[in-house]
């Protein structure tokens, strides 16, 4: 019983981690889908959110709310700023866009270590959610369960916005046929900035919410970037549903997989990627945010 309980608890951990990756990866997918850019500074936005949580929360629920509000503002500003620095490169080679986002990531990483030092910083969950409850005979942090609910709500909200709202229609129209969208009077530049801002909000919010799970430390930016990239590739760079499934899979491999077979876990991820890429066949620049 104890053994099964441990696997259940780890599997729930995997769901929480998977949903964290989903929120980040959804932002990455949004930016990739609308602008055709692999935003290599996306992990940096997560890390900025995590540092924000460290600065403002300290176990305080009000502080946590403040950090969330600041995170939304920072994500919007950060995404819009990225959109602005990328604008002069419109129509240029994808290499230039990769270089710009890499440059931003390096500058920010240097800034973070200068301000916060190179040591990992602990972030405690807000006090009312700091306890644990009994799950399959094991104590389980309430915060992680709350996180699962909140992340699921974010995912559902995102899906509704893309599929049902006017903003979603404009977004999908711009993705599938930019010249036609422009001809019907859609301001493509504004849609792009909005998508970048949306992607930024998702990454920074994930950082604030996820800080008690995956806290701020140098290198977390690349870890998050890598894992969310794998999620986007596995998920088919297209649908929110596919991204969700891929994120949950990666979450399970990273937790239950590591518990079951520590040495094989990275290879499992690699094999999954391999199978998906081989089965899917040749793709070019696949725009995302198509029918879910």
């Amino acid at each position: 019983m104890g053994q099964t309980g441990m696997y259940v608890v780890t599997a729930i951990d995997g769901v929480a981690f998977g949903l964290l990756l989903f929120v980040v990866a959804a932002g990455l997918m949004l930016i990739f889908g609308v602008m055709g850019i692999l935003n290599l500074a996306h992990g940096t936005l997560y890390l900025a959110g995590a540092y924000l949580a460290y600065l403002l929360t300290n176990g305080n629920l009000w502080g946590f709310g403040l950090a969330l509000a600041a995170g939304v503002a920072l994500g919007t500003a950060g995404g819009a700023a990225l959109s602005a620095v990328l604008r002069p490169l419109t129509g240029r080679d994808h290499l230039d866009q990769a270089l710009v986002t890499l440059g931003v990531a390096f500058l920010a990483a240097d800034g973070f270590t200068t301000v916060f030092d190179a040591a990992p910083l602990p972030v405690t969950a807000p006090r009312p959610l700091d306890g644990s409850i009994d799950v399959a005979g094991h104590g389980y942090p309430v915060y992680r369960l709350t996180f699962i609910v909140v992340a699921a709500a974010i995912g559902a909200g995102l899906h509704l916005v893309i599929r049902r709202s006017t903003a979603g229609v404009l977004l999908r129209a711009t993705v599938s046929d930019p010249p036609m969208a422009a001809a019907t009077g859609i301001n493509a530049g504004r849609v792009r900035t909005a998508a970048m801002a949306g992607g930024g909000v998702l990454a920074v919010t994930a950082g604030v919410l996820g800080a008690p799970l995956l806290g701020p430390a140098p290198g977390v930016d690349t870890t998050v970037l890598v894992l969310s990239l794998i999620v986007v590739v596995l998920g088919g760079a297209g649908s929110t549903g596919g991204t969700l499934a891929a994120a949950l899979l990666v979450g399970q491999v990273q937790t239950v997989g590591v518990l079951l077979a520590p040495a094989a876990a990275p290879f499992a991820l690699f094999s999954a990627l391999l199978i998906v890429l081989v089965v899917r066949g040749r793709t070019g620049d696949v725009p995302a945010v198509r029918a879910a």
Partner: protein
């Protein structure tokens, strides 16, 4: 659906040169090589160690350039094959084989094999998709190196003894000697790359960068040609990995990490499509990150970040610059 992407125009040295301009280029190259050989007698030990680091990075940059600048594929994963080569050399050294040139050859072979295995994955995609998949290859290779503790020593890495020039020779422990050994290897590898670029394969790769569908329509087996180019780039990166072990006598997953991959891409981008440019780019990167970075109290990453932004915005101006340098050399040769 697929969108057509604008592939970069290659302004690489395909244009015919007059014998005079070719001679002046040769004179310039000879001058650079002579300076490089004389370097250990002129500068201090720290500068020599930086130059050695730059030479190793130059091989990785050339490998990246073969895909980025020549074949028009934004490759982020060459550092994975670099790592495969480095671990090959380190494991050989731990097994008692210390001959450097043998390490180089073996690492090139394992790098090529690793590239051949992963080429079908990467070459299913183009443009940003290619960037994503090669990024995934890089990160998974680094993770595998960190987790496969039994073989790679995990995050602790592998320490090795110094390489020798041939079996039974004295180990290369003097920094100046290691530098000269690496320089000789880089010159040999550079010659191979120069020949490759002038070969039919080099031309086909350039053609694919300019207009792949047309190359296919002309009857080229584009998939096979690109795979060959990818494997050649993997072999080159693998050889670079062996040089890394010869220099550091140590390898760890950090040597195939995100930062190294980003820096290799930067060096290739600085090179504006040319191999000599990629080598110059490697030296520029080491100068910014280690030399200037050291004097600014460890803000090397910030300097690199600024270099990334400068290169991204300035890249259209880099190509005319290399063209200008070339024509300046050519006109000098005529007088």
């Amino acid at each position: 659906m697929t969108t057509t992407t604008v592939t970069p125009v290659n302004d690489a040295p395909t244009a015919p040169y007059s014998p005079a301009s070719r001679r002046s280029v040769h004179v310039a190259v000879a001058a650079v090589i002579l300076t490089a050989v004389a370097l250990p007698g002129v500068v201090d030990a720290y500068t020599i160690s930086l130059a050695t680091t730059a030479l190793v990075l130059a091989v990785l940059a050339m490998s990246t350039q073969l895909l980025v600048g020549v074949a028009g594929l934004p490759a982020f994963g060459q550092v994975a094959y670099f790592g495969v080569g480095a671990y090959t050399a380190a494991l050989l050294a731990q097994g008692g084989t210390t001959t450097g040139p043998f390490h180089l050859a073996a690492a090139a072979v394992t790098g090529a094999i690793a590239a051949a295995v992963t080429a079908p994955l990467a070459l299913r995609t183009r443009a940003t998709g290619f960037l994503m998949v090669t990024f995934a290859i890089q990160s998974l290779a680094a993770t595998a190196a960190a987790r496969w503790t039994r073989v790679t020593g995990g995050d602790e890495g592998l320490h090795t003894s110094a390489v020798t020039l041939w079996a039974g020779a004295a180990p290369l422990t003097n920094a100046g000697h290691v530098y000269l050994y690496v320089l000789a290897c880089v010159l040999a590898l550079g010659t191979v790359v120069a020949l490759l670029l002038r070969s039919r394969l080099g031309l086909v790769l350039r053609g694919c960068a300019d207009h792949e569908p047309r190359m296919a329509a002309l009857g080229h087996r584009v998939g096979a040609e690109l795979t060959t180019g990818y494997v050649a780039a993997g072999a080159l990166a693998g050889a670079g990995g062996a040089l890394l072990v010869a220099v550091n006598r140590y390898v760890s997953p950090a040597d195939m990490g995100f930062d190294v991959a980003a820096v290799a891409l930067l060096a290739a981008a600085i090179g504006a499509g040319t191999m000599t440019g990629a080598v110059a780019g490697a030296f520029a990167v080491v100068a910014a990150r280690d030399w200037l970075g050291g004097t600014t109290g460890g803000h090397g990453p910030a300097l690199l970040g600024l270099l990334f932004l400068t290169v991204a915005y300035g890249r259209p101006h880099l190509t005319p610059l290399t063209r200008w340098a070339r024509s300046a050399l050519a006109s000098k040769g005529k007088t």
